[in-house]
């Protein structure tokens, strides 16, 4: 079942096209990673999805309802964590969490206190004295303590330390196991790799790649490290081999998927002493798109 379905959403600010025909789908029980460089349109997409701004054209639905027209209805079952959390300076963290939870439908004190404990937030401090990370914790606790069915998280861990990031990942896994869906926009690719079932890459307002990580990997080069008896320098000029490097007899390079078999044959002939192959990381995928952009 589709929790979220976006088709051909375009958003223009005056003459500037911020989003150009975005397609996106998040299924029930799925964690969807939404990645892309700064200014690519991640936050704009999320603001459209939340009905804070209106799409110029295209259709965007959450729970089968229109995100603009039925915003209020949808929001009863949606929890949102913005990337830059602005809070009311003179209210305490605890007060803000309770307020948000009540607006979303009620406070589950046990869940709330457990999350406050887990994220080690002092709920009595005024929001004006919180650091960026602590403000994010307030929003995260208010989100995960709610009974939302869909979590929309816009770079939620940019201010958290590694330990807190782990707690965050645990929270995402828990809501996933309860059959809830998550849209996670992030810069931290290792985090997306760990958590997400499917990934979409956005660049300059367009979705350029989307699919499961496995699917994306098939489209991408494999990293190879080899040590051979004979010199492997001849591989450097071979079709489908990239970023070829040699250091004291150890060769590192990347191979396009379609040439992989062919290259393996050649390597076999050189007398293999050591061979490691690693699947491309998300970072490789991401960097390849950057490089394509440059070219």
């Amino acid at each position: 079942m589709n929790m979220m379905e976006v088709k051909g959403v375009t958003k223009k600010f005056g003459t500037f096209t911020a989003l150009n025909g975005i397609d996106l789908e998040v299924n029930k029980g799925e964690v969807y990673g939404f990645i892309g460089p700064n200014g690519a349109g991640k936050s704009t997409t999320i603001r459209v999805l939340l009905g804070i701004i209106q799409a110029t054209s295209g259709s965007a639905k959450i729970f089968g309802k229109d995100v603009w027209k039925d915003a209020v209805d949808i929001h009863r079952k949606v929890a949102y964590v913005p990337g830059d959390v602005h809070l009311w300076e003179n209210l305490s963290g605890g007060e803000i969490i309770d307020t948000f939870l009540t607006f979303r439908g009620g406070i589950n004190k046990e869940k709330r206190d457990q999350l406050i404990e887990r994220f080690q937030l002092d709920p009595r401090k005024k929001a004006g004295t919180y650091s960026k990370g602590n403000r994010q914790k307030v929003a995260l606790i208010a989100a995960f303590a709610s009974n939302a069915d869909l979590f929309i998280l816009d770079e939620p861990t940019s201010g958290l330390d590694p330990l807190m990031e782990q707690h965050f990942q645990q929270c995402v896994k828990e809501v996933k196991s309860e059959g809830k869906s998550v849209l996670l926009s992030s810069h931290i690719l290792s985090e997306v790799e760990k958590l997400c079932d499917r990934v979409g890459i956005i660049r300059q307002g367009e979705m350029i790649e989307t699919g499961t990580l496995e699917e994306l990997r098939h489209l991408t080069r494999t990293n190879m490290v080899i040590e051979t008896v004979e010199s492997a320098i001849s591989l450097k000029e071979h079709r489908g081999v990239h970023q070829f490097n040699e250091q004291s007899g150890v060769y590192t390079f990347q191979v396009d998927p379609e040439e992989l078999g062919h290259v393996m044959q050649l390597v076999g002939n050189l007398g293999v002493k050591r061979m490691e192959s690693t699947p491309p990381t998300l970072e490789d995928l991401f960097m390849r798109h950057y490089q394509m952009e440059k070219e």
Binding site: I52, V72, H86, D98, T99, R104
Partner: protein, 531 residues
């Protein structure tokens, strides 16, 4: 090495603040010059000034503006210092508080100060630079005020007095710059520093008010009471200036001492902790918005009462006051059938209604401020609709607007009844005042309209309010053409008791307001949130 790189920092701070400083200077000096100039025309004769002096000797007025000096020879200068010096000094104090906090605790809170401190600069260089800059702006305002007053050359305002006037302004600003410098060492957030500094200013004002009415010794414990003892344009005593200088010096040294001892980002007073859980009030959107504006609402209601009471306190002396002054009579217009008090009342009502519009519009415009800070998003993504959000703000602003008007009228009546031989019944006051509600509502509706369709231009509503104020306030004197005056919604309200009361204009204004409010709701529903 504590002050290493001070000149460079000073240049850096100056570049960030020169525009604000110039705006402060022009407004403060401009206000002083305008009033000094107008006094010449308004109170040209000794008889006119003496009536004014008698009015000002009333304890309510003494509590508000300070004691009357030089009553035997009440020159224009003496009157100027009596009416204007305290308030102008308070404006400089406020400026010093704002600037000082912006340059110190605010920078520290935002992490900018940390960046500066990581560079090879002295530990006290930044605080010194902030202090020097604020002191310099205060000095500049004092000097320019003195020079302007001397050039203006109003009769009764001698050079020594004008020099003293400027000196007192500067030293007042310095004292509060130093007080704020100490306070910013004590509190953890700039918000708390601002709150505490303003509280100190308020307490200083209150101690002075109590002292001025009862015993002079008490006044001397307040920096504001101290400066008035210079008796500017009358005796021009220098001793209060020296005492103030000493105080500034001691407080500055204390601020440096504390700043040098404490860690960056820390404070000597622990930040006050909030509640662990939200109270019942916060659990509804309306309650949340009410809580966010709590301080502003209370402050405005108190201010409105004081405004009403201060106008009321002069009602008793009105007849003799106006009888002597042709210019004020001209401002009121010609209605021989009514007493001057009654005519003055009609004008008072418009002014009070316009003042009551300020909190009304201000509390509504909070919605735009929240939008800019992206905090409306929190509410709009937790099941609250645009219609609801706007209605909550509208309800609060309407309620506070009406209460402001009533409370100001009540203040007017209470103070008036105390000083008048033949008090006017409260209901008469109330009826005259309440008839301005539709005119106020029009302004609020226009603010809604701007917010819904031209959110970036919302603050232009203040221009319309100021325009209304001037057409009403100066309309009689300046012969403003009728078409121009009729652009103000206040123009259409019948001025009871001088004019006959009629419902028609009120109902028309009311209908227009409602239509505009409905259109605004639809407009806001259909636009993007613009941060």
């Amino acid at each position: 090495m504590l002050f290493h790189q001070l000149p460079l920092l000073l240049k850096f701070h100056f570049r960030q603040n020169w525009l604000a400083s110039i705006i402060w200077m022009i407004s403060i000096v401009g206000m002083t010059v305008l009033v000094a100039g107008s006094f010449n025309g308004l109170f040209g004769s000794e008889a006119e000034r003496n009536t004014m002096a008698q009015t000002l000797e009333n304890p309510v007025m003494v509590a508000m503006v300070g004691p009357v000096y030089g009553i035997d020879n009440y020159t224009t200068g003496a009157m100027m210092a009596n009416q204007m010096l305290l308030f102008t000094a308070i404006v400089l104090c406020l400026m010093s508080i704002f600037m000082m906090i912006k340059l110190t605790r605010k920078q520290e809170e935002e992490g900018k100060y940390e960046l500066i401190r990581s560079l090879p600069v002295g530990r006290l260089a930044s605080l010194s630079s902030a202090g020097i800059l604020v002191a310099f702006v205060n000095l500049l305002i004092g000097v320019v005020t003195t020079v302007s007053l001397i050039i203006l050359n109003v009769e009764g305002m001698d050079v020594t007095g004008s020099l003293m006037y400027g000196v007192i302004l500067t030293i007042s600003g310095w004292m509060f710059a130093a007080i704020t410098a100490v306070i910013t060492q004590l509190t953890e957030t700039s918000r708390a520093a601002l709150g505490l500094s303003i509280t100190v200013l308020l307490v200083a004002y209150l101690i002075r008010a109590i002292g001025d009415v009862s015993s002079e010794i008490v006044s001397l414990f307040s920096p504001l009471g101290l400066i008035l003892r210079a008796e500017v344009y009358v005796e021009n005593y220098w001793w209060p200036v020296f005492v103030a200088m000493m105080m500034t010096l001691i407080l500055s040294l204390l601020a440096f001492y504390l700043h040098n001892r404490r860690d960056l980002g820390s404070s000597l007073l622990p930040a006050r902790l909030g509640r662990k859980e939200a109270s019942k009030l916060l659990l509804s959107p309306f309650g949340l918005l009410l809580r966010l504006q709590r301080v502003a609402i209370v402050a405005w209601l108190v201010a409105m009462f004081v405004l009403g009471a201060s106008y009321g306190s002069v009602l008793g002396d009105l007849e003799s006051f106006f009888a002597d002054n042709d210019m004020l009579q001209q401002m009121l217009g010609e209605h021989p059938d009514y007493t001057l008090t009654e005519q003055f009342m009609t004008m008072l009502m418009v002014i009070i209604a316009i003042f009551a519009t300020i909190p009304m519009v201000l509390l509504f415009l909070k919605i735009r401020a929240e939008e800019k800070k992206e905090r409306n998003d929190h509410l709009l993504t937790t099941g609250i609709s645009r219609y609801q959000l706007m209605s909550y703000y509208l309800t609060i602003s309407l309620l506070v607007g009406v209460i402001s008007l009533v409370i100001a009228i009540y203040g007017l009546w209470v103070a008036g009844a105390a000083v008048m031989d033949d008090p006017i019944p409260f209901t008469n006051f109330l009826k005259a005042g309440m008839s301005y509600l539709p005119a106020m509502l029009i302004i609020l509706a226009l603010a809604n309209l701007l917010f819904a369709f031209l959110p970036k231009w919302t603050s232009f509503i203040w221009g319309y309010l100021v325009f209304s104020f001037f057409t009403v306030y100066l309309g009689g004197m300046l012969d403003i053409p009728n078409w121009l005056a009729s652009l103000s919604s206040f123009h259409y309200i019948p001025q009871i008791p001088v004019e006959e009361f009629t419902w028609i204009p009120l109902i028309v204004l009311l209908i227009i307001s409602i239509v505009v409010l409905v259109i605004s709701q639809i407009g806001y529903r259909n636009r993007d949130e613009i941060g």
